[in-house]
Amino acid sequence: MELAIHGLTKRYKDKTAVNNVSLTLTPGVWSLLGANGAGKTTLMRMVAGILTPTSGKVQYDGIEIKMLGEAYRDVFGYLPQTFGFYPEFTVADYLQYMASLKGLSKRETNQKIDELLHKLTLADVRNKHIRKLSGGMQRRVGIAQALLNDPDILILDEPTSGLDPGERIRFRNILSEFAQQRIVLISTHIVSDVEYIANRNAIMKDGQIIAVGTTDELVKMMGGKVWQGTIPAEQLHHYERTVRVVTVRNEEGGRVSVRYVSESPGLPDSQTASPRLEDLYLWLFRGEEAVKEDAI
């Protein structure tokens, strides 16, 4: 099984959202990392077949997805960035509606809904109106919808936004279990969400893929560029202007321990630290607001 993206480009009037992207997705969890506006959502929509590319093509096992039509959508699960629902829908109504659009039989629908509600701990809210649920629960309903047809290709756009730490861990576990022999593509700007579950990562910037590899391969690129040093707290403001700070931790005696990325040590008595994906992200997205989240 293979999903190949060949020279995909999407141009709007005055902006190129995705610029000549080529990528071959194989079974496993793939993360698509990038800052807001990098072109992740546009790329995902084109892979989902709901947005027409300006040029380039997407092939599933060698056949263009446009040709496959409903056969492609049949093996496809998609969670868009914005979760929508009709206001009169309960959780069960929504899933039944989506199951009918996915062409599931009644028997399979009931079986799948029971299974997913249990897995995503939504069984208690089965008959509740979606509009009355919290953002995290609504997101889980969206994830359940994407998994209804047991897809071979699962595309999730910012799936963890709004989930609390516990829900994120549960989501990661479900995904790891699900991804066997399937292609899962997760777009996010929250590095910690994918650092431990993604088999491979693609990093996107300004509409282009700038790096592809396993977490270890990508992290190796940061060898000798991640440092840790301790400075007096009052000097932090000064150093923040000269180095790219990843984390700051308060120490005793009015000092702070600073982890930062730099070509050379920028703080006195700095020592190299073992790099993480988050460091690479910050390195690549210099000048852009990075979303940093504490590891769960």
Partner: protein, 262 residues
Amino acid sequence: MNRKMRSKLQAALKDQPALQISKEHLTQTMQAARMAYQNRRQRERIQYSAFLLRQVRFIGATVWLLQGLLLLCAFWLFGFAITDTVSDLAPRHLPVLLGCFAVFIAMTGIPFIGRSAQYRMLEVEMATRISIPKLLLTRILLIGIGNVLLLTVSLLLARTGTEFGTGNIAIYLLLPYLIACCGCLFIQIYAHGRHQGFACTTYCFFLILLLFILYKTAPVVYKQASVGVWGALCALCAVILAAGLYRLLHKAASLDLCANGI
């Protein structure tokens, strides 16, 4: 395999010059094909008729309730009020009443216009097996079933106790109905998603007002002599409606074409 794919494969095969087929390769191909077939996951999928039935709960139930209320109004208006000599509604007002009622019938579909975009369901619905064009057709079909029933009942009720022929009554109902449908359809194609419902409602009320104004200022429009023109306009509207429907379904096939709402 869809039709496009099948014809492309057939064309590619025809383009090939006569090939030397080796028995060994043929056996290998057969084995590979058999293995691929056995390895594929069996997916049981419902037919369109089953899908249509399941949409009754989500679309049909609401719209049919609305149309049911309108049906009661039809019984009151054409079955009782218009034939009751005590009532202010004299049979001579029938053409304009039929027209206004037909516009109301068309209006029962307005709550479903732009609904997917309004509630941000468009993307997720587009990525499903059924896809948006088929879903739209299903909605139109379910709304249309109720509308046809309402139009038929109105026609049958209005026919009794009036001097107008069945053909005339049908035309007095159909033309305003088709004009209302055409307008709403084009609003759906060209207007922004958020404003579609409001624009359609305004358009329909404007149409009702126009029918009244015409009745008051140019009653000749409703005379027997104009029926031919009404008939021609009906045919024209039917063609425009079909073209609009085709345009809407084409627009619904891609998110960049229907980002404003479907």
